[in-house]
Assembly symmetry: C2
Homo-oligomer: 174 residues x 2
């Protein structure tokens, strides 16, 4: 561990016959990669989102793969992730079976739901665990100091759990 929370650079390169990313596109990609890093989202996902975000029209699979110079697998996985998080959606031109991807209107609500998808399960599984810890401590030693610490922790945990649903009604739009 140097400081935690670092990511290294390493630049991908567009496949021949696809337009390489313009400087401002690279810069936006870097921005999203940086932010994604904080949330623990891999760079390939952030790059895909950045490309869609800065594009005038919806983009298809091959173009994404070509311009970003990444593998089919990564594009597929990345699109799946973004789709599952509700961060992108697809339209289809009629007469083609190809899907065209674009960002959903509200990045804000996407981010909240992404955050929730990380934190919520942790909080839920923690609530009973913390209760067990409290029980364990009580029967073991019982320094009032430690007991108070743990009780406080548990209160936070439940408070956070209550708070989340208020932030954004789970499956719907906001």
């Amino acid at each position: 561990m140097k400081t935690p929370f670092e990511k290294t650079a390493g630049r991908r390169v567009s496949r021949p016959s696809f337009e390489p990313l313009a400087p401002h596109e690279l810069e936006l990609a870097d921005f999203f990669v940086l932010m994604a890093g904080i949330l623990g989202v891999p760079r390939s996902v952030a790059e895909i989102y950045a490309l869609l975000y800065i594009s005038i029209k919806p983009l298809d699979f091959d173009l994404i793969q070509g311009r970003l110079g990444m593998s089919k697998g990564s594009v597929s996985q990345g699109l799946k992730f973004l789709r599952d998080q509700g961060m992108i959606l697809s339209v289809k031109e009629k007469g083609s079976r190809r899907e065209l991807w674009q960002p959903t209107p509200s990045l804000a609500s996407s981010l909240v739901s992404l955050l929730r998808s990380q934190v919520q399960p942790a909080l839920e599984q923690s609530a009973p665990a913390l209760q067990r810890v409290l029980d364990g401590v009580q029967s073991a030693n019982a320094s009032p100091e430690v007991l108070e610490r743990l009780a406080r922790l548990k209160r936070w945990n439940s408070r956070a759990l209550e708070l989340f649903p208020l932030l954004l009604p789970p499956p719907t739009e906001a």
Copy 2:
């Protein structure tokens, strides 16, 4: 990427001649490891913190190493990290050069500062980058749609940047 944000289990084991962790201690460690994972903090650090958190009295280096069954290097690094984040502090018994570690009173403010230390630098370096992206887009194509998206992004960025200092006055206690 399966879902992102998973960590696998793998349990450490106390060195012989040190008390192995009791069930409730393990459970608290798991809780902290889980939470730390979200913030990108390694498990060893979380385990050390958990142990200090549930202990009645301050603990020394050897005891931490022994009970957690981890290497000297990890203990040293972990304590350094926690110390730098202001999450623990040490006292010394007189007549001994040994340091005894305990959590600082406010976990809350520690967490905020930890969060800040991740997010703040990213936001700062992003502000000018986003401006350059905007400039780039304007000279390149100029779909009003995309322009609006990016402008919004930039507004958020500055708003977040303004907001942070309010959350906790940078270097002091709260």
